[in-house]
């Protein structure tokens, strides 16, 4: 068992690309679910729209990156409108079913052979991140402290990513202490009471859906640029539920909850993967019980159990306030 490698991998995971991507996705969900009580089960759809908006604009149509990012952002706004118009007047579980369906529609469409020339089928799109790395201020070398560190490309995307996380947190913090944010929280607690005060609940919910979607879709951009390639199956329903686990782990309706949640979540997954792998290599666990290819399946089982246990025993997560989690909304 090589504990130093296990610990370094866990440290890298705590600030790595996945952490940034899922922190952004969960910050968006926090606006939806934590503050407004909207059950958006299609957050992966927002990430997909952003990532594909950028990738298709640059790789398929050969247009500049900034236009791609604008198209991705516009796509997220349009998606929020499309989801919100039919469902925001209905019961909460309708929004859940429609958003998960919409995210699957997006994934199935971009992975289809019919639209392969535009979206690249199940192979997705590559070669669109060049413009981003041309802006890289870090000279080409490894940036290490001991064995812990990143290369210049990772440094650049992580710098941009964490700046986006910080800005998103700031936006959420400012919004939620404004009168507007207090109306959102009031909607979460009792929609009818807010309506009786003359507030247009539908409009507030729609604004929340759009803002959360746009914040979440930043995760899609960071993922696409960080990996320099995207495949449709990254944006499956599991991605959304990872983001939910992160949000509930950190604490919903807390500005820093999603960020801390994402860091802990990816450290747990990195530790479980690496410890299992090392234990199998060292012969502590029989290969007939778990083979190295099956280790990845345990990660999902852990996520499933974590989500269940958190929801049952500590729905407020690490930092949340139990009184503030109105999970009994309709």
């Amino acid at each position: 068992m090589d504990w130093s490698r296990i610990i370094i991998n866990a440290l890298e995971a705590s600030i790595g690309l996945q952490t940034v991507v899922f922190a952004l996705a969960a910050i968006g969900l926090n606006v939806h679910f934590g503050y407004t009580g909207l059950l958006n089960f299609g957050q992966s759809g927002f990430l997909a729209v952003a990532a594909y908006g950028l990738a298709v604009t640059v790789a398929t149509f050969d247009l500049p990156m900034w236009l791609g990012i604008l198209i991705g952002l516009a796509g997220a706004v349009v998606l929020a409108l499309l989801l919100g118009i039919p469902t925001l007047r209905l019961r909460a579980d309708y929004l859940a079913i429609v958003t998960i369906a919409a995210a699957e529609i997006i994934r199935l469409t971009v992975r289809s052979v019919t639209f392969e020339s535009t979206f690249g089928g199940s192979d997705g799109r590559q070669a669109f991140a060049g413009g981003f790395y041309d802006l890289n201020p870090y000279p080409v070398r490894e940036y290490n402290i001991g064995n812990f560190g990143f290369n210049e490309r990772q440094m650049w995307i992580l710098t941009v990513g964490w700046i986006l996380v910080a800005l998103s947190c700031l936006v959420v913090y400012l919004l939620m202490r404004s009168p507007w944010g207090r109306v959102l929280k009031a909607i979460r607690e009792d929609e009818d009471a807010v309506r009786s005060l003359g507030k247009n609940v539908y409009a507030y919910k729609m604004q929340s859906l759009i803002i959360g979607g746009v914040l979440g879709c930043l995760g899609g951009f960071v993922y696409a640029l960080g990996q320099a390639s995207i495949q449709p199956d990254i944006f499956g329903t599991d991605t959304t539920f990872f983001a939910y686990t992160i949000l509930i782990l950190g604490g919903a309706a807390r500005v820093g909850g999603p960020v801390v949640g994402a860091m802990i979540f990816w450290v747990i997954l990195s530790l479980s993967d690496n410890i299992l792998n090392e234990a199998i290599d060292a012969g502590y666990i029989s290969k007939s019980l778990i083979s190295t290819t099956q280790v990845g399946q345990f990660r999902f089982m852990i996520v499933g159990l974590l989500l269940m246990l958190l929801m049952i025993f500590r729905p407020q997560g690490i930092f949340g306030d139990r009184r503030e989690i109105a999970l009994d909304a309709r």
Binding site: A102, E104, T109, F300, G304, L307, M311, I312, L327
Partner: protein, 433 residues
């Protein structure tokens, strides 16, 4: 019509050849290969097609070619287990002979350790092209009806659970998968962690599997949902718990069953029976019959029996039902057991129709939601009607849209229906805001 009979005979014979071939190859299990025969049965005589080139491509840039010999046999040794793409060069086939399904020109096949994997390219007249739109439509309606019935079995359970407890059960797909997996394990005798006991016939295996599904439904309620209800866990919290349970079970199945799609050993390569323009395998007919009988039984039970009436009462208004002396917890327990058994049966029948894999239930879960929403959340009969409509819609829509996008169409109508009639076909209007 005679040609189609000939085709099915050919398919049957090829299936036999494949089975015999597997028996023969089991003896010499050493290394992996992919093999097959190219032939067609014409008037009970076997016509082989020599000199046709087959290309096998695999992981790590592996690529090899083989040419069929006098008996039509071809075989390629592959370097190891993995997924390989086998494609046929149809240009070398004689005129008038082609693949019966043009889209099957290249097949993706998984090869296991030490397996000699048989691959079959069904040859004959290209039947799809000749068919008129109408007979195609009839065939698709029949297939859609079968799929709708299977979905209905699962949807009724989902809808009853929603009606009685308010829980939107995202782990319902895993109940569907469980039925199929248990039946496969029992009928092959390969239960995980247990010694091989040789396996049972399909029907007793399915019966045992359904009983186990019922037990699992009981355990679900007794150990998870009933305690949560007692604690007063909210509906949205419970929904998220069910998502966690679903993810856990799905990947636990993957761990136990591996990622392969398998078939029930008793039902590989069944032959078709024609009724008018519709041609389905005999197993399809009787699985439809089973589904119809069970669904009618469920309706009768809901309509006539004491517990059925109590179920509908609880669905309607739990507080009122409890006040009038109905034991709500018992009703919910019964709903969970029967819902899990219905879902398990749906899994068994779905496994017969399209093979068994660890996420077969999850793959139809959203379609079941679409069906339940279409029919009206919480109404059992609505779920039934909605399932059949969605099943047929998915199937018939492939006349105009590519097969890979058929589920997109179904999920699309879900959204449109919520715009126009959010309470569904049979639901009562209820709105917020």
């Amino acid at each position: 019509m005679r040609k189609r009979v000939a085709f099915f005979l050919a398919a049957l014979v090829s299936a036999l050849v494949v089975v015999l071939g597997m028996g023969a190859s089991a003896a010499q299990a050493d290394g992996e290969s992919i093999f097959g025969f190219l032939f067609q049965t014409k008037k009970a005589e076997r016509v082989a097609y020599p000199g046709v080139q087959i290309t096998v491509k695999g992981p790590k840039g592996f690529s090899d070619k083989a040419t069929s010999d006098k008996t039509g046999k071809w075989s390629v040794d592959v370097p190891g287990p993995g997924t390989y793409t086998v494609s046929i060069d149809t240009k070398a086939l004689p005129k008038g002979v082609n693949l019966t399904d043009e889209s099957k020109k290249s097949l993706k096949v998984p090869v296991l350790v030490d397996q000699d994997k048989p691959v079959l390219f069904p040859l004959g007249k290209s039947t799809r092209v000749v068919e008129s739109k109408w007979s195609q439509a009839a065939q698709l309606i029949a297939e859609g009806f079968r799929f709708g019935l299977i979905m209905a079995l699962a949807a009724v359970g989902l809808s009853l659970i929603f009606g009685t407890t308010g829980l939107t059960n995202f782990a319902h797909g895993e109940l569907v998968t469980l039925g199929a997996l248990l039946t496969w394990w029992i009928s092959t005798g390969n239960l995980p962690f247990l010694p091989d006991f040789g396996g049972l016939q399909f029907f007793p295996a399915a019966a045992i599997a359904l009983v186990l599904c019922g037990l699992f439904g009981w355990a679900n309620d007794a150990w998870l949902w009933a305690p949560l209800r007692r604690r007063g866990t909210g509906l949205i919290a419970a929904m998220i718990v069910s998502i966690g349970l679903g993810i856990f079970l799905r990947y636990f199945y993957l761990y136990l069953f591996t990622g392969n799609t398998r078939q029930y050993p008793d039902y590989q390569g069944a032959k078709g029976i024609d009724i008018g323009p519709i041609s389905l395998a005999s197993v399809d007919y009787w699985s439809m019959a089973v589904a119809i009988v069970v669904l009618l039984g469920t309706i009768l039970a809901l309509q006539k029996t004491r517990i059925g009436k109590a179920t509908r009462a609880v669905s309607d208004n739990p507080a009122l039902a409890a006040a009038s002396g109905i034991d709500v917890d018992t009703v919910i327990r019964v709903v969970w057991i029967s819902g899990a058994m219905l879902a398990g049966l749906a899994g068994v029948l779905l496994g017969l129709a399209q093979g068994i894999n660890f996420q077969m239930g999850f793959q139809i879960l959203l379609l079941i939601f679409a069906a339940v929403t279409l029919g009206g959340l919480g109404t059992a009969y609505g779920a039934l009607v909605g399932s059949i409509v969605v099943g047929m819609f998915i199937s018939v829509s492939t006349l105009w849209i590519p097969v890979e996008l058929k589920n997109v169409g179904a999920l699309g109508i879900l959204i449109v229906i919520l715009l126009v009639r959010p309470q569904g076909i049979l639901g009562r209007a209820q709105r917020v805001g």
